[in-house]
Assembly symmetry: C2
Homo-oligomer: 249 residues x 2
Amino acid sequence: MADLIVLDPHAPIPLYTQLYRILRLRILEGQYAEGDAIPSENVLRDEHGITRSTVRKAIALLVNEGLVRQFRGKGTIVSYAPINNSVWNFGGFTDYSRARGQRPVTSLLEQATEDGANGPVLKLVRARGIAVEDVTLFLNLDTSWLSLKRYPGLDIFDFEKQSLYQVLRDHYGVSPARSELTLSVVAPSALTTKVFGDGLDVPGFLCATGDVFSSSDELVERTSVIYSPTLEMRVGTSWSTGNGQPPGA
Amino acid sequence: MADLIVLDPHAPIPLYTQLYRILRLRILEGQYAEGDAIPSENVLRDEHGITRSTVRKAIALLVNEGLVRQFRGKGTIVSYAPINNSVWNFGGFTDYSRARGQRPVTSLLEQATEDGANGPVLKLVRARGIAVEDVTLFLNLDTSWLSLKRYPGLDIFDFEKQSLYQVLRDHYGVSPARSELTLSVVAPSALTTKVFGDGLDVPGFLCATGDVFSSSDELVERTSVIYSPTLEMRVGTSWSTGNGQPPGA
DNA sequence: TAGTGGTCTAGACCACCAT
DNA sequence: TGGTGGTCTAGACCACTAT
């Protein structure tokens, strides 16, 4: 198949990012199946008329995300476990489930304004998950705090229907680029029971709390995400120091 | 100051890894302080007689580790919070504490052989932490399982004195290169109380369970690490897709 | 032997920041 | 204006795998 999507060297998005998104989509849609090799670096170079360095940078993003692994002499092989979530980007999960016909679901549990140190703050509590047939399975419980001074009028949107990040991008010109999170454990509460069910016999839930920043290093939101135990939190680490050694020694 | 350490193009370790280790050590030792800029890419290129691409690859490792951040027009700035642990590489912590005169401590709690599906297995339970003055503060509780069929004689070493990974490297020629971990929450137990103390009022502990592989993709060990709540588990994420957008959209 | 990924060179142009 | 990092090109040589 010829490529329908071509790279645009004049776009504000780097070529390697454009290629990364193309390859990522194909993997998530199953066009390249698990265990298969994606086209070789030289093939991608010729197909898209770019340098191998640029191809490699695109693939490096996939490797970092855990979607592929590279083997010298063999190729670049698709290798991801089902619902292989990096913890911190729920977006990956959304893509994955959508690509499989599952429907991502967001339920707005609370929307209120609070008084913060720097003026009024919008508090948003959302449960997110997927709908498979008639059953909705909630996978995380996301509490966000956003400055209404910085984002005036943000409280009139309906975040059950619209993505928070999309509103921020379209109406305020802000995109998240970076996060600083701290992992912790939270005890079960009435809210977690309501969202995740009471059939779970766990001592606590995994929780990531912290700040999200824009590319210009402005604070976008303060967030706290509680994860369902149903969601396997996989973490891949590669000590990419060239010789197979942890940095420790 | 001239560089005492020079890069060796004939070494089996890539040039960018060599440079990465040099820079990393300087940062951890405080030679480049927090908030300072490290030498520019062009300076490093000239100093070490290598290409800017190679310099950039070395710095990319530091960025990935969260030790520095790069700003166009400004420079590469050292930016890490004290005890900024990426969860999964405790080695980083060891380096950090040692560079500050704190003494890393390992206490062997259990060493036993068990029967596994593929023959006898060495089980190793170690508590690790730091000693500051006369007080020892344990920060994690690490349980490892290793095949004695694969590593005959491993059970005769004293792992209170010797690093497991060092023994594996020196006596069996195996180095860990990659891990696949799953995050979970474990309830407090007699063991966690003994190691972390009983003054903690937490519903559970953060735990990473999974496998560690060598560069040739052979299973090295099965491991389960429980982290002390004292240890802030910082997780930095950057959506390095070029335009400041999570992969999700 | 042909093809793969891993490393490295030697340039180029650009956007951004400090001066 | 000069220096910084961000992107990209067009090669090269190597180690390893498949056949």
